[in-house]
Structures are given as structure tokens and as C-alpha cells.
Symmetry: C2
Amino acid sequence: MRDRVRIVEVGPRDGLQNEKQIIPTAIKLELIERLIGCGIQNIEATAFVSPKWVPQMADHSAVMRGLKKHDGVCYSVLTPNLQGFEAAAEAGAKEVAIFAAASETFSHKNINAGIAQSLERFAPVIEAARKTGVKIRGYVSCVLGCPYEGDIAPQTVAHVAKDLYDMGCYEISLGDTIGVGVPDNVRRLIEAVASEVPVPALAGHFHDTYGMAVANIVAAHTMGLRVFDSSVSGLGGCPYAAGASGNVATEDVVWLFDRMGIETGIELDKLVDCAVWISSRLDRQPASRVAQAIIATRKRN
Amino acid sequence: MRDRVRIVEVGPRDGLQNEKQIIPTAIKLELIERLIGCGIQNIEATAFVSPKWVPQMADHSAVMRGLKKHDGVCYSVLTPNLQGFEAAAEAGAKEVAIFAAASETFSHKNINAGIAQSLERFAPVIEAARKTGVKIRGYVSCVLGCPYEGDIAPQTVAHVAKDLYDMGCYEISLGDTIGVGVPDNVRRLIEAVASEVPVPALAGHFHDTYGMAVANIVAAHTMGLRVFDSSVSGLGGCPYAAGASGNVATEDVVWLFDRMGIETGIELDKLVDCAVWISSRLDRQPASRVAQAIIATRKRN
């Protein structure tokens, strides 16, 4: 049997979240259906956050209502607190994601709470999720650097990841929020985290801000990680530097693993079509190198 | 002492070669001076090829005449045959580069000669270079895939590299001409080549067509390579798919090694300035993710 990795598509939430123009719910739902048509089975669909903070996600309930049931497909939604969780559960969410930072300063600026306080805030969410059988995924942001604090100690990340795991998250996604990681410190990070959390419960969430995401995914894969977050067409950009790249493009990740002979279950050609489609809806070209190369090759043939 | 890698800047030749608009000699010379100002010491300056085939390089003698002498800086020029070599030597070249392919079909289409025949054609160049004390660098193209033949056997690359080395090339640059390599096959390739040519005589020349160049450089570095070719601002694009990326950007390579604590001798901030400058001369944005991120950060601050 071929090796296999699982891709968690975050385009519809993490990708679209920072778009200035409000994207119609129908486009979001069509994007999700197209992604599923490519073979993607894990999709972060929306976020139950206050529309005051994230206007783009104000239609979360409508998105949830519009999601179609597909065998094997798992949707998750981001929930920042108990109120968000209850609304998500009410709307039928079977998996929610919660998020902590590995940087005190980032945590304060992002959610107005320190790391410990943010974890406390999630305790009732996890409690409620357990009671209702909802799965919980945890994010740790700034795992390889913080826009305010610079380098982050791997031990700090390990502690936050362990707390989330011990609280009941089935998977912890380690986020290089500003894309400053390189393979060497990815290895050091995963070594540290793996001493606190089982490796099969870890996922990699790499940003391509400095073009290092694919190299970092390779390093993480070598360290045993088999789950990676990515965003179709590289949707999302970098909220900390407009004009820079953000989430690694799903096309680039699928191309990498295809060429390495590792199964993703995703059809690259269809995925490029999907990237072209959503990019045209957003009046831009796909940010993915792979999409650009495949589009160029199609034009040539 | 910190680990060190050597960057061979190929922007002025490999990068500009495919530009449709003819770039004035003065711009080429200013680019070279700016690159040297960033700390780059190895620069491929021009090519002594027929202007009929590569009009952009028609000013090769003028470029050679305009090059300034700098301590520690080494210029090289591409020479396809004895006639080119003689003109280059006449113009004062101290290092020339010759090129072979690891694909028979590519070799025929590119230079109208099979691999063996192309090597025979270089024998008199190498002979003449030896007599005059000119150093010779060898390129092997299509080492990880060919646009016509698909996958290329590592053994084939190893044989061509060995032939070039035995003929007298001091360094063999392994070129992933269409950017289809991934770290796994980079490792297999270098294992095969290293059994025929000493690793310190090998360089990596990776293209970023599918966004894999940095990951491949990391793999090659792990295998012992310490010399990498790159092009400022990612100049060059992909001659086999217009609109796709080509040469890995020097900025991305420098950023990678800076973050890994490995010395390149190159100042990244100045290099980004240089990328911005040459890109504006060519009416485009830098293709480098690192340049884009640094420009975005500068605008924000």
C-alpha cells in the first residue's frame, strides 16, 4: 500500500477570512462542493466568530445549512468560545476547531487574552463538545516565529500543544503563522512537541510567505507528520504583510506528494480547475506555482 | 566557523537570455555591479553564442569589456563551441561554462546533437581552455526530468556528469531544467552522481516551476552540496511554459540559508533592492516570494 497523507483544506475559512470584498454564500458553497469533487475530504468550512470582528464569516449559519452530506467528508468550523460553539453545534457542526498561540504577545493582540487565559476560555467549549460528541481540533499559531516576539522556543509550543491535547483535542495543528520557519527549526520544533504529544496527533500548517512551506512540509513529513493544512490557490495571503503569500497552496502540496509517490486522494488537474475558478471569482491569478505552471502548460499544448 | 555555501548568480545570463525585449548593455552591467554590491562573488555574465540563436546575448563582447575587476569576484561566460570559446578568451574570460543534457531528445532539440556528440564537440574547447588556464564549469540539464522524455535515470545523469568531470570541468552543475524534481528524487540523483563525481565538485541548479526549488536545495544540501545556482528576482521564467516560474530566486536561497545559520556572504536587504531595481527595468514585480514578503513588510513599517 502506498504511503498516504491527509490534507485539511482551509481555503473556505482561513483562506477567505481576510478577503475585503464579502463573498456570497453561494460562492463559498460552490467552492466547497468543487473541492469535494477533487477528492478533498477534510474541509474547514466557516467560523462561528462575531461578524463584528470577521465580517466575511457572518454567513456561518447559512454556510452550515448549505453544506451537502458526502460519505467520508468531514467539515469543521472554527469556534472561539462557548457561544460560538453552541451556535455551531446548533447548526449541526460535528467538528470544531479552537486556537491558541505559542506567543503571549500574539495571543494578547489576537484575542485579547494570554495563552493560559485563552486555554481556560476553551475549557467549557471542550466540555460541551465532549457531551455532544463533537470532535475538537486545536490550532497553535506562531509555532516558528511571532510578528511581535520573533523566535519562539519549541518548548513553549510543546507545552501549549500538550495542554490542548490533554484537554481533549484529537489533533493539534502547528501553525507557522508568518511563514518564517525553515526545515532545521521545523525538525527541532517537532522533536520538542513529539515528546509531549503523540506524532500521529500532530498536523502541519505552513505558510509560504518566504517560499519555505514545501520544504517545511517535507521536513515535517520526514519527522512523521501525515496531516497538512493548505488552502486552494494559496487563498488567504498574509494578514501581516499585504502582498505577501500566506497559506501554502493545496495544489503545491498535492503535486509534491504525487511526485513523491504518496497518496493524497486528490486529483490535481481538477484542483487546478478549482483554483482557476475561485481565483477568477476573486479577480486574480492563482498564487500557486503549480497552478501557474499547469495553466501555462495547458495554454502551450 | 559557520557553515558556508557558495551562490552562483546566473541572472545576467540564464535569467535575461529569454527576455524578448533587448536589454541595453549598460543595464546588464549595472545589474552585475549591483549584484557584486550585495556580496555575490560568482556571476555568469553573458554567453558567447550566435546572436542568430540568442539575440539577447549579442552584446557579449561589450559586456565583457564593461566588467569591472573586483577582488574575489569570478565571472563566467557560456560557450557552446570552440568558436565561442575563442571569442570569450579573446575578450578576457577566465572561466567558461559548457553544457550537456541528460536527455538525448532534449540534447537533439536544444543543440542539434546527441549527448555523446555534444561532449565530443566540447573536447577542443576543454583542450583550448587547459592550454590558456581558463577554468571550465559544466552544466548538465534535465537531470530530474525532460520535457520530451519525462523521467531521466539517475545513472544517465551520473555518466554525463562523470564525462564532463573527467574531461576537465572543475564543477558540474546539475540542472532541474523544468523544475519537476522533488526531494526524494534529488537524493536518489545525488547518490548516483556522487558515486562517479566527488560531491565537492557538484552544484545544484534548481528551477522553481512547481515551487519545489527550495525543498530540493535543502535535500541537496543534506546530501553534501555546497554550491547552488540562482537568479536574482527569479529572472528567466520557464522557457517551456510561458507564465511559469523558472530559476529559483537568489533572494529565496539567501533567506533560506540565513535562517539556517549558513553563511552566503550576501546581504539580503541589498539583494531585494537589486531585485526591485531589475524588475522595474523589466516592467514587472519580483517573482521571488522573499522579495515580495520583504517589500510588503517595508510598505507596512
